[in-house]
Symmetry: C2
Subunit: 727 residues, 2 copies
């Protein structure tokens, strides 16, 4: 990263001979001007302010990533679309926070031409830099060198010399940007002078905010689930108030609507494991390096993603501490201590916590986040049978969470050797599927760890069957199992539609939203009052029977606005109440999942709505299961394999279960996919992985041992395996 | 910290000329011998193994901390008590993990004489080193230089030269340790050759484990609550299975018994805040430096304790990330984003999470831990009145948690300016009291933040009362409030007795434990079966009415053992069922809180026990409140102030509320206290702080404005204030 001293020293070799002036943090040009006005020393008599904008144009994915950096006079207005056309880019979009961080090592509010010095040698050759002609003859051009607390003044020639000094930078253009002014000026967001007092907005949040400020018509979802899934997903999770972006990349805010779903899962699962005798507890989030590295295979799987604490206050820690990526090595030293005799078995504990896995892949809300919420259960048994029974009991609970709470169908099975949990013996899993992208997604895993960890951590008891003189040590059989907030992402992806989120009633914080309607200027205040009272009465009656109902009585919004508002947020059922409904002693119900309308007699309100909510819940699962089933294709010859993937399906194949074969399947499906042009930019043409060996094996045709061959390699097939592209 | 290269280089200047040999990790002398047996190069023909033991003798607190380091031949057996007498120490106790870390920068299993090189210059002058005479003429003495994976062999003279080279070390003795052998050999734990495969045990856990292995008679609590409160507390929390020590100093494992209490608090509080319209959510644990430092007063309060993540995998982060010590600066940038209009107010959210405050003071289970669980609520309102109403509503919920769930009385009030939350306007608090030590303890705080944070983070709405042309910006009024697992420590300290934990029924995971008894060798198997069946029937009947009952049917323990077992663990009610009870169609109940026994007719089992559990709950609060009330003393002249503190009471004084006066009170009560010899070592003669200005002010005598004077300084008194020594 560019350091201030290094930067100043570099600039000084380019004709720059002043020190930066310091001032208070500024948030916009007005404040910048004002702040500079208070500076007493080092200020030039005349100067111009600037903005540096970074775009990531939409490109065919065959082309390399080519960000565009615009360095402009602050008051230059230009048409970014026209600029895009000039540069031969179709769509000029502001770069996301991730691009700012990953490519330019900067954040909103600190952008200046000097961030070009941070770009890696692989990328710099593709960066386009555009310098506003209005700047090049200026003597004192103001930039924030590293943050908005300082300003340097450099001349046009120094600016150009600096840019010319960047190794590997090829595309630099001077342009009369003002000549590109047009009907659509660049949005104010993303300017150079906004400090990060308010959180750095990503592309998605900038868009959402801009539109939401612009009026009701833009509160909804614009992207199509079918044709622009990534953008659709981003819009849905943000605009439904499920989640917000956070100023630490890869971390997200789980907002109340989403957290409510998580609490429903917690309640259900807590009751389920309590019935199995599992008790909740809490272990520290910090792990010493020694404990972390006790189990070699296990740590190999996690080491590259471990976040390390090395400092407290201003003191360096004597020994760095890891933040748990999972708690096997946190807990099992204490299992060794607590388990002294077979009478201490089984030991069954669970904790609800967050874990940190600092992945460097693209983060995605709920699905891949650097910190996420989960539960992790850890149990120890005397025998394998007991342990494995529990592994499956837990898997059943996971399946029920998906199916009964989230209305998401899953396939239960066991992972291949390649895909199983690092350090365990067998990983069972529930696998789901996102029809819109044709990709499988792991829903939750329950591991049989065998005696591997108990040997590493010396968790032993004396054999109670032994004699008094001969009591051999037995290493306990262990399990661990985890389910995370990824569940919420899967639910959103499966049920959401082009109007926004669709929540299954069981996990919806608001199950029924009551909206007064049908009131016109012809109606009296008395009419209005009667409708309002009716809404409140209905709300109270529903709450009394345990239905989570709310009324939207805001008087400054139209019914239509309110309908959209709650549709985006996925409320399962809307009740419309107007004067005509009241005359008929009924209300109108509108389902979120299929927009079916029905009149509900007020005297049967509670019972009708209870049934209706159950019906919605059931229908959502039935519909999702149908979509899943249709996309799981039995594939019996290799030629059909990649085309099946490309038609957004999963494949069920007779498989040999060899790791080598799994690698070949991945390689062959990756290569073949590259020739396929149809895919969306955000869905890489990844190879297929084995998702699971389903517990429920297809029977038509059955696998005949020694006769049925593996679809890929021709070795003997052992079982059917579910393969697919996946998250 | 001593590094291997530096150590070897230092040793080489002292006559050492070999390289350390490497081997597998070893856990005891046998393994060490065996491991060295497999080393092919660099091994001397003859060598002796060693143990290095570190003690922290009990001392009068007027004397400086003086650890003792014993370097002995591994097979030298000596009497540590005799050694203590020789060194003029009363009680030779093994040093705790914290001492190993903080003073010697080492951990169990890595102790060697070389850790002396890690001791700070302030302490080294008080360290006593004892060298076993059996070593000084040896040629090849084996030590683990840094960990148990390596061994160096040095001669007696080199060892002595090394020890002599330590700057500032004054007390070095050679002793024929074997001559101190006696009836009480040093315990095996704490030896030099145990690697940290199992967690490093602290003094408390070593003791607990040793004793629990030794048989039933030592499962209970040995320390007296009255005379050795610190040790008593440590024993109770560990032996009741509430908590265990962890191998990262200042972090503890919250075991299921304690976590159950926390879940009861969560359930109660969640329902309470839901009724107030507060919604749960989850914000990331990481804070960027910029956000953290936005509010200056606030960060000043927390900066020295902030833990920093600087690395992920092997990659240095571009910008270090703080782990939240609290979430004001995490959340409020998003408040600024989400609150766009007065219609978005109030915004009320809460999260359950853990926070990290890396305190360098002595950690204490539940009370002062580097990571702890809590909830933090954050709300924003249009007006001060609304905000302050909520501050008090929350305080009421905190009081009810203490009183109704934990049977702990509290005093509600507001903090002095000096003690209030950094960055806020006013802090309300519930204050409790530990009679055994006479110290107050803050129970939970609810802050009115005013507009301070909203100004820093620019959380504004337009005044809805404004005209269409003049809508001034209003900064919102904010609150924040938090309650932590400290609650559990307070509950343990207040109710526990010399037999162990005493749990209030409402938060006890097991409310009733059923123990079969009265069976002798004269009874038949049929008798036994009848008693067992009766236990299970009673258990089932109680569970059916929602009483958390369990039966202890383990056949290898006596009833007496079981009584103690559940008494240590604080189960509120024991039912004893024997053949004679069954004849009378009754069972015997024994209360944990006061050991009162009563016969319970089986036909009135459920109703009797429901009443009994309520009575226990109520009695515990009444008893605790009486103890609290008796120790809050109205003090009207300064001469009584310190003597009142010294009699383990809190003082209620007319006070001027000036910060200067508060400082003076602290200074004067500290100085005066030093002359008092009676205090326990672990309770420093700290000065008194203001605990709160109680909402419920004493009326007899009332404060007469302009007339009543401050007890300390004679300025006009404004209100009564509660002062005391505190945690």
């Amino acid at each position: 990263m560019v350091e201030l001293d290094a930067l100043i020293s570099k600039l000084s070799t380019l004709g720059f001979n002043k020190v930066p002036v310091e001032h208070s943090a500024v948030e916009n040009v007005e404040e910048w001007k004002k702040a500079l006005g208070t500076v007493s020393n080092g200020l030039p008599e005349n100067y111009v302010l600037t903005k540096t904008l970074i775009y990531k144009p939409k490109q065919p994915k065959s082309e390399p990533f080519a960000p565009v950096v615009i360095v402009a006079k602050d008051d230059t207005v230009f048409n970014s679309k026209a600029l895009g056309t000039l540069l031969k880019f179709k769509d000029m979009r502001f770069a996301s926070e991730d691009v700012l961080k990953d490519t330019f090592q900067t954040v909103k509010g600190s952008v200046s031409p000097f961030v070009l010095g941070n770009v890696s040698s692989e990328i710099i050759g593709n960066v386009r830099v555009v310098i506003d002609k209005a700047l090049v003859n200026e003597n004192n051009i103001a930039f924030h060198p590293l943050d908005s607390l300082r300003t340097v003044f450099i001349s046009g020639p120094t600016l150009k010399a600096y840019i010319a000094s960047i190794d590997g930078l090829e595309h630099v253009t001077e342009l009369d940007l003002a000549s590109l002014a047009g009907a659509a000026p660049a949005p104010a967001a993303g300017g150079s002078t906004k400090v990060a007092k308010k959180p750095a907005a990503t592309e998605a949040t900038v868009a959402a905010k801009t539109e939401e400020s612009a009026g009701s018509s833009k509160l909804g979802i614009e992207a199509s689930k079918e044709t622009d899934f990534s953008k659709w997903y981003q819009q849905v999770v943000v605009r439904s108030d499920m989640l917000d972006y956070y100023d630490v990349s890869g971390c997200y805010i789980v907002r109340p609507t989403a957290y409510f779903v998580w609490q429903q899962i917690q309640e259900f699962f807590d009751a389920g494991i309590r019935a199995l005798g599992v008790r909740n507890c809490y272990f520290p989030m910090f792990v010493s390096q020694r404990a972390l590295e006790q189990e070699k295979d296990h740590i190999e799987g996690f080491a590259p993603e471990v976040a390390w604490v090395t400092k407290a206050g201003t003191t360096d820690l004597a020994v760095p501490l890891a933040i748990r990526p999972t708690s096997e090595t946190v807990m099992y030293p204490y299992f060794a201590k607590w388990i002294r005799s077979h009478r201490d078995l089984p030991l069954k504990i669970n904790q609800w916590c967050s874990v940190v896995r600092w992945e460097f892949k693209n983060p995605q809300p709920f699905l891949r986040t650097r910190e996420f919420l989960w539960q992790e259960g850890h149990c120890a048994y005397m025998t394998k049978d007991e342990a494995y029974t529990e592994v499956l009991d837990i898997l059943t609970l996971y399946r029920r969470i998906y199916e009964e709470l989230l209305a998401v169908p899953v396939i239960e099975g066991v992972k291949s050797e390649k895909e199983k949990f690092a350090g365990g013996v067998a990983t069972t899993t529930v696998e789901s599927f996102i029809p819109a992208t044709g990709r499988g997604i792991q829903g939750g895993t329950s591991h049989y760890l065998g005696q591997n960890f108990s040997k590493m951590f010396d968790v032993v008891v004396e054999d109670p069957e032994g004699t008094s003189t001969d009591r051999p040590k037995i290493h306990v059989h262990q399990t661990s199992w985890g389910l995370s907030t990824r569940t919420i992402g899967v639910m959103v992806m499966i049920h959401g539609d082009d109007k926004g989120l669709v929540l299954p009633p069981r996990v919806a914080e608001t199950q029924v939203i009551i909206v007064p309607c049908g009131l016109t200027s012809k109606h009296t205040d008395e009419d209005r009052r009667r409708v309002t009272d009716a809404c409140l009465t209905v709300e109270a009656r529903l709450k009394k029977v345990g239905i989570r109902a709310d009324s939207d009585l805001r008087d400054n919004y139209t019914p239509g606005f309110k309908y959209s508002h709650w549709e985006v947020r996925g409320v399962p059922l809307r009740l419309e109440i107007g004067p005509k409904d009241l005359e008929k002693q009924s209300v109108l119900s509108v389902r979120r999942d299929n927009f079916a309308k029905a009149s509900v007699a007020l005297d049967k309100l509670e019972s009708t709505l209870e049934i209706l909510l159950h019906t919605i819940q059931d229908d959502m699962l039935i519909r999702a299961r149908k979509a899943f089933d249709e996309r799981v294709k039995l594939v019996l010859k290799w030629d059909d394999f990649v085309p099946t993937l490309n038609s957004k399906c999963l494949t069920m194949i007779p498989w040999c279960e060899r790791e080598e074969c799994e690698d070949q399947i991945k390689a062959r499906s990756t290569r073949d996919a590259i020739n396929d042009e149809a895919e969306d930019e955000k869905e890489p043409s990844m190879g297929a992985k084995s998702l699971c060996l389903p517990h429920n094996q297809p029977q038509d045709p059955p696998i005949i041992p020694g006769q049925t061959k593996c679809v890929q390699c021709g070795h003997n097939a052992k079982r059917y395996a579910l393969f697919g592209r996946s998250y």
